[in-house]
Symmetry: C2
Subunit: 243 residues, 2 copies
């Protein structure tokens, strides 16, 4: 048996990797990933062989990793954030059926819902829903249904992939759906370039979020009915009582 | 200004902490936490002062941390998993208003929704909802509403606090709510003692999950309509097409 580690590297800085992820990248022979993520780790693991594939070639990337592992190398497939949240761990498990000599181990990492929340303050704290606005692999009707359900049940909502060049108005459409149930003054937050150069946050009401242009480096948080602004941060109370 | 780090230590093993969390615990003077979590890290930071409070004394614990920081010490408040997911970061931000000389920095960690998913395979992968079944701080009606909404919109659902001594039948009640919309054969998973001694997983259909007794060391995953079993693991396809 050879090993394929599917590794969540966190938001991007070496400091936000887990020790387990660092050790997997240290012990493997080959690191496979999307070009941008490989560039994030390359300097720290300079003696490794790196194999990259461009965006949207996920099936090819996973097969490359599995074939390399089958040939006897220990391989680490890296994903930004967590490998299991819109990452590669699912596809690795699915395609591994054809490579019975390869054992898969997923190493979790700090996904943007957690790292973004940390710089915004404490927006989650309570029950929350994570929804991707990308309709590349999911029909928009499904996304719409989930946004409406999450808003109606007063979940804190975290939006991944809130925009791209081709989907400029998707955040506005998502806000309009949430506004059917939530107040226009609902406290929201944008976390940008988490853990990387140019990291920044914006805390703003839902009615303003609707008018805001975001890009693919943003993760968006929509509070629940209890979320408030505390010292400029976005905070959802858990419900503790104090004098 | 003095610093209060609110640190997510991950599921429990030193290996699953981020470097950033380790560095915060190394540089602080005092580590504050719930007794059980302090015991998890104590051996690795033996030269620190430790202050503990029992369960359910969260307000006292946060005030202790803030007062210690205000006295000039650098303090780290530790939480299991992530500090912002049913953790202490919200209460720290709220109570910090009375301690203006203390600056709060939250350091995210690998929460059970991510670490549990990693050992089960790839149950999340797509949009998901996180719901705590504890009704200590949340009315059961709110929990019920969220479970129904998440099930109707076909979210993968992750349940925190699925049971306690006083809430033995809560998982059964939650399953019955989900069963109003989901098939009894929906693939589910239980992750137990994640990252600790006795770590184990169970993959089973929803109708069997309903009959299963869990405890406070379990995190429960209920798949969406597409979730399947692959090589004994729980996998939710993202939607990639492959031959």
């Amino acid at each position: 048996m050879t090993k394929l580690y599917v590794v969540g590297i966190g938001p991007g800085s070496y400091e936000q990797m887990t020790l387990q992820a660092i050790h997997a990248l240290q012990t493997c022979d080959v690191i496979v990933g999307y070009t941008v993520y490989v560039d994030l780790v390359k300097a720290h693991f300079a003696d490794k062989v790196f194999l990259t594939t461009p965006m949207r070639q996920e099936v090819e990337r996973v097969r490359l990793a599995l074939e390399t592992a089958q040939s006897g190398k220990t391989v680490a497939m890296i994903c930004s954030g967590d490998a299991g949240v819109y990452g590669m761990s699912g596809l690795c498990e699915e395609l591994a059926k054809a490579y019975p000599s390869v054992e898969i181990e997923t190493i979790p990492g700090v996904s943007a819902v957690l790292s973004g929340a940390a710089i915004l303050g404490a927006p989650l704290m309570h029950d929350f829903a994570v929804v991707s606005l990308s309709d590349l692999l999911t029909p928009w009707e499904t996304i719409e249904k989930r946004l409406l359900a999450a808003a109606e049940a007063d979940f804190v909502i975290c939006l991944y992939n809130p925009a791209s060049r081709k989907r400029k108005d998707y955040l506005m459409r998502a806000c309009d759906l949430v506004l059917r149930f939530a107040s226009p003054d609902t406290v929201c937050g944008i976390a940008r370039n988490i853990g990387r150069e140019g990291e920044s946050i914006t805390v703003l009401p839902l009615k303003e979020l609707r008018e805001t242009e975001v890009d693919m480096f943003c993760t968006v948080f929509i509070g629940n009915s209890q979320t408030k602004v505390v010292n400029g941060k976005m905070v959802t109370p858990r419900g503790y009582v104090y004098a």
